[in-house]
Amino acid sequence: MTVTSPLAADERDVLLSGWGRTAPSGARLLAPRSAEDIRETISVAGPRGVLARGLGRSYGDAAQSGGATVFDMTNLHSFDLDLTAGTVTADAGASVDELLRSIVPAGFFVPVTAGTRFVTVGGAIAADIHGKNHHVEGSFGAHVISMRVVDGQGEILELRGDDPATSDMFWATVGGMGLTGVIVEATFRLLAIETAQMSVDTVRCHDLDEVMTRMIEGDDDYRYSVAWIDSVATSGRGVLTRGDHASMDQFHGAKKSAPLDYDTTSLPSAPAFLPGGLLNTATVRAFNEAWFRKAPKDKQAELHSIPAFFHPLDGVKDWNRIYGPQGFLQYQFVVPDAAGWLVERTLSRLRDVGAPSFLTVLKRFGPANPGPLSFPQPGWTLAADVPAANERLGPVLDELDELVAAEGGRLYLAKDSRQSPAMLAQTYPRLGEWQAVRDRMDPRGVFTSDLGRRLSL
């Protein structure tokens, strides 16, 4: 599975930051050639520790660690597909992009995908990523059968969620942000699909109430559901897109002979609207207007490609650079249904300080999984992209944090780059339980990250 090589692993000094390009730190980047390289490095790790990094799509400081040795896991990316069992066993560095190119033509899909396919399996587990199907199928960790993890002593552990001897370590690693060990391999269940097309219902909603009401009433009828919200318009108008993988019956058109053809080059038209220069309220307004207008008013069972439906921004290379040198952050919270008013409050407060979100996504979550640091819990989750250069942003986000915490909500660690340690401790009440398992897996404190230091994890 892992590729071994007699050569020493590549090492170099680099500056690392997250997708938001804020607060970079210097580290030694090492591309391991095998799990053995990882074990050896861990056993001789210095006081600054080690951390695994995938494709760097977490927005904040989760996949960086100042002064540490950071493993570039993308070097280890083999995987084996088990067609009979409908599972895949993948190296941690294998990306969802690579997996989809192989498994879609074979009639399978990943159980959960984020808004980008450029995430690794290890990162998907460590952040316990969610997708448009969370309300039905939960987050990524729920579909993992087993994983191999190198712990803080350099030992390889076989963790299973259904094995009482290892399930606490398994669930501490799911959503554990890479701080319990280095995931080197995982086996997880896939979803069988008949075609590589999505059957999508789209509806434009004229205000936020309509969006939220339709989601509450109708989401259960769909495997996938997400709403895009116009953050500039005070109405909170939005576009609700929901659907499922198209069956053979629904599939039509010229490609009848090859229903599982997977083509990532067929991009949606949306990215053409991305403004080129500096983002400001005017360009954000124009973008949001265009995004709203391009959506059909009300259309049923329209066929979309997988990239168009799941990964529209992946077609725009380095879109994170549009925010300029000071970068951006994504504010993503989840709050229980009763606190749905926080969606409107958040959007209006961001407008108040001149930081309307460029891209705003609203979704409903289903039940949580047993991971003590796993983010999703039932309710509403809102994700808003805002520029870090805005000087009035900090106090407003702190104010929103307080409301989120008071309502029993919390922030997503894979997006966070600014919450306080107190906020984290208050909103993840099982932090102590997670720390106890982490301390057992890593008694020397080898696994470090800037996020871990910032939040006193």
């Binding site: 607060a23 210097g26 002064g67 986000l397």
Partner: protein, 252 residues
């Protein structure tokens, strides 16, 4: 750790009773600050500064004995501070103005000014840089002065130490490029502090809080050099072009 919005959690002030350093800490967004170490010689001013920071709600304020002239002790001192936790922001704020006439009459006094302002700063600055490089993040703010931009008859001993410190800090910043750590060189004009008490005010004389806010702004924007107040940059640009025979005759 610094966060995405430039807030810091831990600060080390070398020259802990410095009013400019105190004003800088007050200008920082306060709700992430967890630890401030004020390093300096025992003095009521140092205790007062620590008390004040405690009063404004900073959870941990430590006072640590530090002597800029005792360069042998600097390595161990810096290690002790950094071993306890990462330091996000170091403010190198110590310095003496001295008395130009006395320094000319008694070169030992000039040597003392040079030892504190330059030698001591070089020594502790290099130790701090070593630890910032190791931790892969953090900012070092160095309080230089416009007095270093151009030597003046009336305070060239002090001015020369700041010129040396300024050049050192610039080079140190270049040496740290790519490490995750960085250096911000601050060139204030005359600031109303204990140091300048009783002296006639120069043009653009300002207050510590103005300098503190300028430093916080500069850090947030990732600047390498700032003047405080900002327009001094242009004044000093002009001053530097005045021919020496003319400059010598200007009121100092």
């Amino acid at each position: 750790m610094n966060d995405a919005l430039g807030e810091v959690q831990s600060v080390l002030v070398l020259g802990g009773s410095s009013e400019i350093a105190g004003a800088t800490i007050e200008a920082l967004p306060r709700n992430r600050l967890r630890r401030v170490v004020l390093a300096g010689r025992q003095s009521p001013a140092l205790e007062d500064a620590a008390m004040h920071l405690g009063n404004i709600g900073i959870p941990t304020v430590e006072v640590a004995a530090f002597d800029a002239t005792d360069t042998e002790s600097h390595g161990a001192f810096v290690d002790e501070v950094f071993d306890h936790s990462d330091i996000d922001l170091v403010i190198l704020a110590f310095g003496v103005l001295g008395d130009q006439q006395e320094a000319e009459a008694d070169p030992a006094q000039a040597v003392h000014i040079a030892t504190v302002n330059y030698t001591g700063a070089v020594s502790v600055g290099l130790h701090v840089a070593r630890r910032l490089r190791q931790q892969g993040h953090g900012n070092l703010v160095v309080l230089s002065s416009v007095a270093g931009d151009r030597a003046r008859r009336s305070n060239y001993v002090y001015g020369s130490t700041k010129a040396g410190l300024d050049a050192f800090a610039q080079g140190l910043g270049d040496a740290l490029a790519g490490s995750g750590a960085s250096v911000l060189v601050v060139r204030p004009g005359m600031v109303r502090t204990r140091m300048s008490q009783g002296l006639p005010e120069a043009p653009m004389t300002t207050d510590p809080d103005v300098v503190g806010r300028a430093i916080v702004q500069g850090l947030r924007k990732g600047k390498h050099t700032i003047y405080a107040p900002g327009p001094l940059r242009f004044l000093m640009g002009a001053v530097k072009t005045v021919p020496r025979p003319v400059f010598r005759k200007l009121p100092q």
